[in-house]
Symmetry: C2
Subunit: 369 residues, 2 copies
């Protein structure tokens, strides 16, 4: 459990400390684009069968690390485990994505919501502990949850959506009910992340995947405020070690300056944001306060041939600029990632070109600085 880390590059970059190269991991790195993942999923029978089985979850979490020189592992799970534990009945139908047996759209169903007994999520915490042990200090393990707003989207819609009609109707018509849902979600997410930390997660990430569908003003009131409420309840350290907290709002670039006030170490960005501009806005100076930045290449770049991938990866690293190299001071840092989860159609061999270029070229950039 307490094996020393062989590679703490990711954690140091989260804390805005200088690193020898830019660390890299990929959102949804354990996923359907890997044939070995598909094989394990076939054994498990279903997505939830995979996510709820500690051995399978451990196996798939480690698979991408065996293929690529990634600098972090992320718990294999789903953002919808929390509403499932609230009793909404989560299933994944082939090709259709997540579905809930019940949705939450009226006064009565909102009144029934409460923070679930964390014991119902024991399979997640057990997986964290098992993965941490299996990693044996290879790289750090990231725990995660959906944001209160993003969970609410699925709870109200009952499934994925392309217009968010039901959740936005409720939000505009009955803001009181929406605030009630979000309060319960925020407290549940905080307990959930704290339990992941106690089980062995070395950093935690909040996925506000659907924050970007909100209007200005609504984002601040219904998403940002509740992400802040989660953060205010999360342990800052565990067993004497600081636990970095990452917040990723897809489509949230316009609100980056407002996200600076969040009590977290890292802000994740999608591909629409210029990293140099983001650094200017929230990255801070060497010796000053700021946020580490994580992201942000378009996952679709991985469909192009390796020489084009190399070109695009370099351009993203260049847009951030030369990272600071002062070992005594904190300063702007960059954690390379995609701007969204990797596509199931990605050719696995293309991912090596991305990972290797991040490492090689970011070392060059430091040398040149």
């Amino acid at each position: 459990m307490t094996a020393l880390l062989n590679n703490d590059t990711f954690l140091r970059a989260c804390l805005r400390e200088a690193t020898e190269y830019t660390p890299v991991w990929l959102m949804r790195q354990a996923g359907r684009y890997l044939p070995e993942y598909c094989a394990t999923r076939a054994k498990a029978g279903s997505f939830m069968g995979l996510a709820t089985n500690v051995d399978f979850a451990t196996e798939v979490t480690l698979q991408p690390l065996d293929r690529y020189k990634l600098d972090a592992a992320i718990l294999f799970s789903d953002i919808l485990t929390v509403p499932d534990a609230m009793g909404l009945g989560l299933t994944f139908t082939q090709g259709e994505g997540p579905k809930f047996a019940k949705n939450v759209r009226d006064e009565a169903s909102v009144a029934q919501l409460s923070v679930p007994d964390m014991d119902k999520l024991r399979y997640v915490f057990d997986a964290v502990t098992s993965i941490r042990k299996a990693l044996n200090g290879r790289v750090p393990l990231i725990g995660f949850s959906g944001s209160p707003w993003t969970l609410a989207c699925y709870m109200v819609e009952g499934a994925g959506s392309d217009d968010y009609r039901h959740v936005k109707s409720l939000m505009y018509s009955r803001p009181d009910l929406m605030h009630k849902i979000l309060s319960v979600n925020a407290d549940a997410v905080a307990q959930y992340l704290n339990a992941q930390i106690r089980a062995g997660a070395q950093a935690v990430m909040i996925f506000d995947s659907w924050g970007g569908v909100l209007a200005d003003r609504a984002f601040q009131e219904f998403s940002l405020a509740y992400t802040a409420r989660v953060l205010s309840q999360i342990e800052r350290s565990y067993e004497g070690t600081q636990i970095p907290r990452i917040v990723f709002t897809k489509g949230g670039g316009l609100w980056l300056k407002q996200m600076q006030s969040l009590d977290c170490e890292v802000l994740g960005l999608d591909w629409t944001m210029n990293l140099g501009l983001a650094k200017e806005l929230v990255g801070g100076q060497v010796g000053g306060e700021g946020k580490a930045l994580q992201g942000n290449i378009d996952p679709n770049v991985l469909f192009s041939p390796p020489d084009k991938i190399v070109h695009e990866v370099r351009a993203v690293l260049d847009s951030f600029g030369a990272p600071h190299t002062d070992r005594k001071l904190k300063g702007p840092t960059h954690i390379f990632n995609l701007g969204h989860g990797i596509s199931q159609y990605t050719p696995p061999e293309h991912v090596s070109a991305l990972v290797d270029t991040v490492h090689d070229y970011s070392k060059q950039l430091r040398g040149a600085a």
Copy 2:
């Protein structure tokens, strides 16, 4: 054809001239949420049957004007008429959206592309002339087209998409082919809009509906540059009257400052952008240069009860602030609209609350200034 306009509020606001109230129209205002539209469509048999029949297109364009005090009409048509005229074979299947018989994904299919004979789009220009005549000066008529990039999305994908995998694969793998497609599209769109202007359109709008899915850098190279290429070829005036040009990039808020350089009068905004910030960035001062702004309420607001709609409409007007009232000088102006097309599920009676509040409250704001 040359009937004097009874209501030129919209055109004056486009040119940043002071108006007595904030003009309003709604993207997709002639659409499925109106029972009278559904009745006409049923008579026409299909979407393309509706769009290609001059009488039907005229009828549905005018329908929302009979219900609501809108300040502009927009041609009833579809953004995909241009690739259809290129020979790609457009159809609309019930509930599934547009589909092309052929897609454009390889060297051979790109080589076959060319600017279509505008005679194939005569039905559009005839509709413009017919609508203009039927309007008889009631409000101005807006013509429109999809942007080169947005058309390319459909041409390469062959239909709508949720990940833009094919078009982005082509863009990253074969940027030369993508530039070829976009060049043809830009020249076709320019000819198409010029023909609409000659047929009677009093303003034109370019819908870059999918510009916002692009990464930073890719947006500038593959969308913005080709919108600029269209604008460089559009007539600035017709028969002595200036023709305002509107550019709307959904999800383009992060690039607003870069869009300022476009040779157009109005920039459209979706609901993620704060209008006050947008005004500060590109709206200009009284007596100075700048862009008029159009937008940007979340169409989902229309699902809430009228009192909530009133509240949200006022908040959007407030976010822009008091419009300038100097009759001698140009200055920041706002054209009220949705941040995207109106949903087919909108209760028609809710739209009155929006339109009436825009007029009433924006008059109050001017009085208070």
